[in-house]
Amino acid sequence: MRRLIACFLAPAVMAFPALGAEKVTTFTLDNGLEAVVLEDHRAPVVMHMLWYKAGAADEDPGVSGIAHFLEHLLFKATDKLEAGEFSAIVEANGGSDNAFTSWDYTGYHQRIAADRLDLVMGMEANRMRNLRLTEEDVETERKVILEERAQRTDSDPGALFGEQRSAAQYLNHPYGRPIIGWRHEMTELSRDDALEFYRKFYAPNAAVLIVAGDVDPAEVEELAKKHYGPLAPTEGLQERTRPQEPPQLAERRIVYEDPQAAQPYVIRSYKAPERDAGDQETAAALTMLAEILGGSGQTSVLGRALQLDSTKAVYTSAYYSGVNYDDTTFGMFIVPTPGLSLQEGEDAMDAVVAQFMEDGVDPAHLARVKSQIRASLIYAQDDVSSLGREYGAALTSGLTVKDVQDWPAILEAVTEDDIMKAARQVFDRKNAVTGWFRKPQTKEVSQ
């Protein structure tokens, strides 16, 4: 399915680098299209991805969900292809295709036999500038995105809670709006709204091409010149600037109650800096902090204290993802053991963090994390598509190829002190949203 990247309560996926492949080639076309080619010649397969530097956070107020809606509409007709023809041709060639939308980017990809690169690149280039939307297609597809929202968000109390928490986290920045959109705005999204977003952002100077697999970089460049080269850039396209957050002056707390909230938990997210071009050290320290604090239930600080030593928690975790265009969050959560209240769970989590701030980082623990990072560079070579996704996300989130390539060494250089300094900088309750998720509490009725 055309997928929406969900960002709430993801398992603590560590932002370990996936870079190990040496065969990385880059080039930029005259019209501004940036490209990265990753070689892996073990199987005759290629992943072709086109990423746009435009996502839900680039929408105007009032049309939330238009970036994602447009992603769906890109599978409709162009001047050369009928509606649905794009996927049909990919499938007829044994390939598969899909797309995704996030706050900072929208991406389209096809996985296909390597000798079909010319074909899929031609079609992808075609739909960058030549979409032909009919009102009827828009009407039908709007029903589909409303069904998608019903399936993925409205039927899932955890997803609704995540939406509320993001809205509480960001007073002014568009990260506070859901990628799929608020339902009342989705129902009003129009063909014109979609085309306005399309004409502005779907252009070679706002796009990143990633080709990963059994390919020759020189041939990829020739194909890119042939297909993407003739496309006109959007004139006057500025660096993206979104409304920024005012200083947060008060702690924010929400209690989300839902009869279908089966498993109560507490989640706290602090606003935190993201990876910036040429300035990734703090983000590296936060990446390590998340792993040390909540990476593994058996060995992390939260896991050992709350799941093993005290058994106050069924589950704990900490998470941080630095690949973001604007400020991101550092989060941690606890599922308290049955019988413990959410307040007790939250207090227990806070106590462990407070103790950690006194004790500091165990050097042996940091050494283990670093050895896993080194290993991840080897394992990552087994999946060149995910390397491609890493480049795509980074380059559409304000980072450069050099930043991506420097990342493993920057992680390797993080010290115990760096981690504690980053933790002191981020762990401020005034900078946080704390959410409780539970069933409605039964009211005591006195008669």
């Binding site: 060639n93 044994g94 009407e139 039908t140 589909v144 409205d154 909230a261 058996q298 053991t337 290993a375």
Partner: protein, 435 residues
């Protein structure tokens, strides 16, 4: 113009067979494995599967296999839970133990430089799990938490309702994770018994891909598996299928209904298996070209996703499908699905659809073999399913050989709209109560 482009694409098709060189290895003690050597990256991916899995849970002990799978790395040999995890982290050993309906799997990836120590750690988990009481209670708590969450998940409600209605007293009738009641009563002895009956040498299948020689692999296999019990208990018999055509509504307070549907299917060993497989590609295998996707989503906007699939298990083969649709729309979605079922059953597919499905299936097949871990999985699964070692080379020819008549025959025989039972979770408008 579009037609011309498509025609050109078809003309170009000449997919390479997957260039996979599989070697059968027999360990010194006689355990067989399939190996693909791939030395370009210094690690090995290993996939071990035992037939049986959660289907061997004893009466009243549902969830034993699943809980057991979560405890193999929570203390083994001389290492307690934390010591085991620390050792794995130091070696950057990646592993996963998993119990599923018909099997138990062990997946591992280890660096060549750490091979011996990694294998020793895995050996302890596979052969000497401790099942310390504190670890049992802790992991049990996690399972109960998962069960509590799934209790309120419409998709989960649909699948457990369907299973309970369909499978009578067969193990398939209940979730393999167990119920809150069954999991609460599982004892350390139950887990020891589950470990002993599931991990046995008489039904184990091994696939390995990576930087390892046949001889090394043989030794490794004996180290990991040589000391396991020779035989396990008898596998369960075939499951009944008790559902007949109709609808069962499971009322649930939600905006959108989830419908899971199915009737009897055919086995992988059936002479018409490939015909059915190709037929389902046209009917609803999930791609955007499928008839169900086209009719229910693209033309009418009634859903975000609709699929049909052949649900193949060791002891039951069903033809199934799933759709989610707003309460107001779900009756229409179901009616469209029934119509498509009927149409396929009566008329089969067109030549153009058949050609398209074949081109997709044969072209997509070699793309599966692109990574050590993925290939190791395929190798173990092929052996588990009883496929020959040269299956990969001949597989596309079997797809190519399917004719319009084959599809017509299997569609008529297998697709029975009148037998299709829909379990609908939600507050569907316009659907009757149970049956």
């Amino acid at each position: 113009m579009i037609r011309a482009l498509l025609a050109t694409c078809f003309a170009l098709i000449a997919f390479p067979a997957a260039a996979i060189d599989i070697e059968e290895v027999t360990s010194p003690s006689g355990i067989k494995a399939w190996l693909v050597k791939e030395t370009s990256i210094p690690f090995t991916a290993l996939e071990i599967r035992f037939k049986g899995g959660a289907s061997l849970d004893e009466q009243g002990k549902r969830g034993a296999a699943y809980l057991m799978s979560g405890l193999l790395d929570e203390g083994a040999g001389d290492l307690d839970s934390t010591a085991f995890a620390l050792a794995a982290e130091e070696l950057a050993l990646q592993y996963d133990f998993d119990a599923y309906a018909d099997g138990f799997s062990i997946s591992a990836q280890f660096l060549s430089e750490n091979e011996d120590a990694s294998v020793e750690l895995l050996r302890k988990a596979i052969n000497e799990p401790r099942f310390d009481q504190d670890a049992v209670d802790r992991v049990r708590g996690q399972v109960l938490s998962i069960l509590a969450s799934e209790e309120e998940d419409p998709n989960d409600i649909a699948s457990r309702s369907f299973a309970a209605l369909a499978y009578g007293d067969h193990p398939y009738a209940s979730k393999l994770e167990g119920t809150a009641e069954s999991v609460a009563t599982l004892t350390r002895e139950d887990l020891i018994a589950s470990h002993k009956s599931l991990l046995t040498r008489d039904r184990v299948f091994v696939g390995a891909v990576g930087d390892i020689s046949a001889q090394e692999l043989g030794v490794l296999i004996d180290t990991l598996l040589g000391a396991l019990p020779a035989k396990g208990p008898e596998l369960p018999s075939d499951a009944p299928f008790l559902l007949s055509g109709g609808e069962t509504v499971v009322p649930y307070d939600t905006l959108q209904s989830v419908a899971l549907f199915g009737h009897l299917g055919i086995a992988r060993t059936d002479p018409d298996f490939f015909a059915a497989f190709v037929m389902n590609q046209v009917l609803g295998s999930g791609g955007f070209g499928s008839r169900l996707m086209d009719e229910v989503r693209e033309k009418r906007g009634l859903t975000y996703g609709v699929y049909s699939y052949m649900a193949l298990r060791e002891h039951a083969n069903l033809m199934m499908g799933q759709v989610s649709s707003t309460n107001d729309n779900v009756a229409e979605a179901i009616s469209v699905i029934r119509d498509e079922w009927q149409k396929m059953s009566e008329q089969g597919v067109t030549q153009a659809e058949l050609d398209k499905a074949k081109t997709y299936l044969t072209g997509a097949y070699p793309l599966r073999f692109d990574g050590n871990a993925r290939i190791a999985n395929i190798l173990a699964a092929m052996q588990f399913d009883g496929l020959p070692i040269d299956y990969i080379d001949g597989r596309n020819a079997k797809v190519e050989a399917v004719t319009l008549e084959d599809i017509q025959r299997v569609a008529k025989r297998m697709l029975k709209p009148e037998n299709l039972h829909f379990v609908v979770v939600g507050q569907p408008v316009g659907l009757g109560g149970s049956n």
